[in-house]
């Protein structure tokens, strides 16, 4: 490390010029294949976190963020246009609304079952199966909304 001055033939003038634009990530085969390999596992982990919230740490919010992270990695490597082909704009917009409506719908169903709003005891025949079912459905709604909103925030910010 003591030799800091470059040799004569490697002066900055002789070196190739710095590339002005960074190389697109899609041109790097290792990154492309690793992303392809990684994304299914990230998605499965996200779904696991959403559905397993009542047994371990996690829930709809964290799982939704992980799902969105899988999509964002895909968009970073393959480009926004390709990513928008996988989840079009209208799909993420609609899913964000559907998540909230689904949550509220669970509340309404328990109302029609004879209970109060979001009282999961009345979702199934007995409270013992209604409570886990209600929590599962509600977390699903949260996960849908969070994932789609995070996707929307990212794409709207990067798009130009």
């Amino acid at each position: 490390m003591s030799e800091q001055t470059p040799p004569e033939d490697l002066t900055p003038e002789a070196l190739p010029p710095e590339p002005t634009a960074p190389q697109p990530l899609i041109d790097q085969p290792v990154l492309r294949q690793v992303t392809k390999l990684l994304i299914p596992f990230v998605i499965v982990f996200g779904l696991y976190v959403i559905n397993h919230g009542d047994y371990g740490p996690g829930g709809g919010f964290q799982g939704g963020v992980i799902l969105a992270a899988a999509y964002i990695v895909y968009a970073l490597v393959y480009g926004l246009k390709e990513a928008r082909r996988v989840v079009p704009r209208w799909a993420s917009d609609t899913l964000a609304a559907i998540g909230v409506l689904f949550y509220a719908g669970v509340g309404l169903v328990s109302m029609f079952g004879g209970g109060t709003f979001l009282n999961y005891d009345f979702l199934a025949k007995d409270p013992a199966s209604g409570q886990p079912l209600g929590m599962f459905l509600v977390e699903l709604g949260v996960g849908l909304t969070v994932a789609s909103v995070m996707v929307t925030v990212f794409t709207e910010m990067v798009e130009d």
Partner: protein, 205 residues
């Protein structure tokens, strides 16, 4: 053992926060904020608040960092130094921050010790949430999820609605008119919000 661990991690947090204040390179700042979130996640883990740690790691260190970098694409990564910043600290804000910080630290003297069983938060209804009776009722071994999704389901519903509103605001503020692959849903949304006021606001800002 655990207090030393938490204390050491808090020291790293403090150092990271000071570095974030001092550094002018916004990209380095963003990465430091991610590091700060990761260290905070470790602190939550050492306090056995796994759900909070998970959220901190996923949201604070993961998504926020990516969104910050997405914003840096538009702003550039070098912070501008204003002329009045060179002359020295801004005394009114320094005094305000110091007094507020001192008041907050003073407020912690009245707080119960960490993990005290008879702290006010553990009396009330929280005792029921943690009881075996409650676990039998909700069939959720993780009390945090039982409280969030079942006992306080109404709150969580509106939290979800707040996230939805954040996404809707993002769409209204930043979405451009799409010409090539404009979907029918989009066309409705863009016709509902006329483009003229949005563009004039953009020029004014």
């Amino acid at each position: 053992m655990i207090p030393f661990l938490t204390g050491g991690l808090l020291m790293i947090c403090l150092a990271t926060a000071l570095a974030i204040v001092r550094i002018r390179n916004l990209f380095a700042c963003t990465i430091l904020m991610g590091i700060y979130s990761l260290v905070m996640a470790m602190i939550w883990t050492s306090m056995q608040a796994l759900d909070v740690a998970f959220t901190e790691a996923a949201v604070g260190a993961g998504i926020s960092t990516i969104l910050m970098i997405g914003a840096l694409v538009h702003t550039g990564s070098k912070e501008k130094v204003r002329e009045d910043e060179r002359s020295g600290p801004h005394w009114p804000s320094l005094i305000t921050v110091t007094v507020t910080g001192a008041l907050l630290i003073y407020g912690t003297f009245d707080m119960p010790g960490l993990g005290t069983p008879d702290a006010p938060v553990h009396r009330g209804i929280a005792a029921y949430y943690k009881s075996p009776e409650s676990q039998h009722r909700t069939h959720a071994p993780n009390t945090v999820t039982a409280v969030l999704a079942s006992y306080r389901g109404f709150d969580t519903m509106f939290e979800t609605a707040v996230i939805f509103v954040a996404g809707a605001g993002m769409i209204l503020l930043l979405r451009r008119e799409e010409t090539a692959d404009g979907q029918p849903v989009n066309a409705e949304a863009s016709s509902a919000a006329p483009p003229e006021p949005g563009s004039s606001e953009g020029e004014a800002a």
